[in-house]
């Protein structure tokens, strides 16, 4: 047995369609069986509400008198793209305000417009014969714009890796605050309610399909950027009319230490055409697993800690290496449910009918990493290989002499086995000399917590460490924790004028 899209739309129009949310579907299939569920259910609605950085909107302001060809454009001091026709622009969600930094950004401009607030438009131009005006400043409401079309290049991620932090310091990431020593796990996504997880083969979701976008009717444009469904990371490019959006389903946010983003509510109705659709929409949180990734490692391939399902993540805690660790969702399950529910209500009322894709989305693609023509400098390219180190059992006076002779400000301290156990700086030694006390040996004054780097670490990451810990040198260590070099601010000077800054 199967149903056609026309039959389903007819039922929607005459008000007899049975519409359920993806959360209800597994129980219906369990009760009625697959064939029974196919007979009973016409539409399954899905929903997600979470941070979607790749979001933004096109605006058309209409022409001023005299007219201006806007080249640089700011909305509430957030810069918008000026490379379009005279009074068109695109504002991106993550663009930060020139004056308020991460407290206000493109996402907030969109949120304020949808909430009915006034926005200040400021623009400048060189002036041309046809567009003589050079500057303009005006206040605008959403209703004053000719068009405000949300157009998001990458939304509705099928699933997203969970994050954990094995280092001994707090990390602030786009996955939220990660406590040290595996202190918590963060995750994002609506699991069994996610649109793509209910249609992983993209039989129903494709170009032209109607959707719920931030409370307004919208449409799938096609595959999203970084679409990688082969590995379970499909994405969608979507659009919708901002003028019809609701503040309940669009919320600006600031991830501390990371930046501005937009929380987007998005739902897709799926027509229950055949048994394959029934099976796909019976997916539960238990069936969808993601990788728990160590965000303490700042590289593209971060280590996998374990696999974990959305059901485990949503339970509030998960086991990591024998310990119970609390979880935090970054997306809102409550609002994802509200999206699926409101979308179901629209369809029950007959205000949205369904369509099949006018152009399919490739369900087999795999995303490629960036093609990098130059690798960027590594620590080994610029580090000092001449190392002056000191043993922990030497006297402070010896350290002072070495610092003077070696013309350095940092002495890595090693133990009897030659492994790194601490660091002393000129400051530590001067302090010990100026306030003579009990301290006699290097081990009494050394700092035991040493931030280190390795030869193949990217210089950018080493620099990030120097800045983050407000220090000026990093010992370079090998796998056995032997010091094989030093990286200091002076070495970084080699980058300038060197072959890396072409």
């Amino acid at each position: 047995m199967h149903k056609t899209i026309d039959q389903i739309n007819e039922r929607i129009r005459d008000g007899s369609a049975r519409v359920v949310t993806a959360e209800e579907m597994p129980a219906i299939v369990a009760e009625l069986g697959e064939t029974g569920a196919l007979k009973e259910v016409d539409v399954v609605t899905t929903g997600t509400f979470g941070a979607m950085c790749s979001s933004g909107a096109f605006f058309n302001f209409g022409h001023a008198d005299p007219p201006i060809r806007m080249e640089r454009i700011w909305l509430n001091n957030v810069e918008a793209y000026g490379g379009l026709a005279a009074v068109d622009t695109y504002i991106g969600a993550t663009q930060q305000s020139d004056t308020r930094e991460d407290q206000y950004g493109g996402a907030h401009v969109m949120e304020d417009l949808v909430a009915g607030k006034t926005i200040e438009l400021r623009a400048s131009s060189r002036g041309t014969d046809c567009y003589p005006r050079r500057t303009i400043t005006t206040e605008l409401l959403l209703e004053d714009l000719n068009q405000a079309i949300m157009c998001n290049p990458r939304n509705a991620y099928q699933r997203y890796n969970a994050a954990i932090n094995t280092t001994d310091r707090v990390l602030h990431t786009y996955m939220g605050t990660l406590l040290p020593n595996c202190g918590n796990v963060t995750f994002s996504g609506s699991g069994g309610l996610n649109p793509i997880s209910n249609d992983p083969k993209f039989r129903l979701i494709g170009s032209g399909v109607p959707i719920f976008l931030c409370g307004a009717p919208g449409m799938v444009i096609g595959e999203g950027t970084q679409h990688s469904p082969a590995g379970g990371f499909g994405t969608l490019m979507v659009t919708g009319d901002m003028k019809k959006m609701s503040p309940d389903y669009l919320a600006a946010a600031t991830m501390y230490g990371y930046g501005v983003t937009l929380y987007v509510g998005l739902g897709i109705p799926l027509p229950v055409l055949d048994l394959d659709v029934v099976r796909a929409t019976a997916v539960r949180d238990e069936d969808i697993s993601v990788d728990m990734i160590d965000y303490g490692v700042p590289s593209r391939s971060r280590p996998l800690i374990r696999k974990v399902t959305y059901a485990e993540l949503r339970s509030g805690s998960v086991e990591v290496n024998g310990e119970i660790v609390r979880t935090s969702s970054l997306s809102s399950y409550r609002r994802a449910r509200a999206v699926a529910q409101e979308l179901a209500d629209w369809i029950k009322k007959g205000s949205m009918t369904l369509s099949l894709p006018t152009r399919p989305i490739d369900a087999t693609r795999q995303v490629k990493p960036m093609h990098q023509t130059s690798k960027g400098p590594r620590v080994m390219d610029i580090m000092d290989r001449q190392i002056v180190s000191i043993s922990e059992s030497e006297e402070i006076k010896t350290a002072a002499q070495k610092l003077l002779k070696g013309e350095t400000n940092h002495l890595p301290v090693i133990n009897g086995e030659g492994t790194l156990v601490g660091i002393v700086t000129t400051f530590d030694v001067s302090k010990a000399v100026a306030n003579p006390g009990k301290a006699k040996l290097v081990r009494d004054i050394m700092k035991k917590k040493v931030v280190t780097t390795t030869i193949d670490e990217a210089v950018d990451i080493a620099v990030h460490k120097l800045e983050k810990f407000n220090i000026s040198a990093l010992p370079v260590v090998d796998a056995e924790h032997h010091v094989i070099g030093m990286l200091t601010a002076i070495n970084l000077g080699k980058l300038f004028g060197g072959r890396w800054l072409k």
Binding site: G50, N184, T254, Y256, T261, Y263, S328, S332, Y333, R334
Partner: protein, 128 residues
């Protein structure tokens, strides 16, 4: 009742909390304390009926005492019920109701401030 106590540590370095416990006989629960060489701040919990007694005793020893009637300030309007704060709070102030709405057990809050940065929607603030 929670009291926020600020004191400066002069030459004598009197252990003010211990002193008050001895003088009043009230058992004080220290929930949070930051003390450096010159000054200190402690958040203490005392039984409601002995609050005034402890307060007077601390004030007479030169401390500034403020009653904290509220825990973390929660702006429900801004909250999207994500739950980012839940795993951050050391005292399990936050949890979900069965329908995934954020619930607060305000009385457990020790105003450490850790959740404030963790909330992506700026819905949490220290009470004034």
């Amino acid at each position: 009742m929670k009291l926020l106590v600020n004191f400066s540590r002069g030459k004598g370095r009197k252990p003010i909390i211990a002193q008050v416990v001895r003088d009043t006989g009230v058992l004080i629960n220290v929930e949070r304390a930051v003390i450096d060489s010159s000054e200190g701040e402690a958040l203490i919990d005392v039984p409601d009926d002995q609050c005034q007694l402890v307060r007077n005793s601390m004030t007479s020893l030169g401390a500034r005492v403020r009653m904290l009637e509220h825990g973390i300030h929660f702006n429900e309007q801004e909250c999207v019920d994500c739950g980012a704060c839940i795993s951050i709070c050391p005292n399990e102030v936050f949890s979900f109701t069965p329908d995934w709405k954020l619930a607060l057990a305000e009385e457990r809050c020790v105003l450490c401030g850790k959740c404030i940065e963790a909330c992506p929607h700026q819905a949490l603030m220290l009470p004034l």
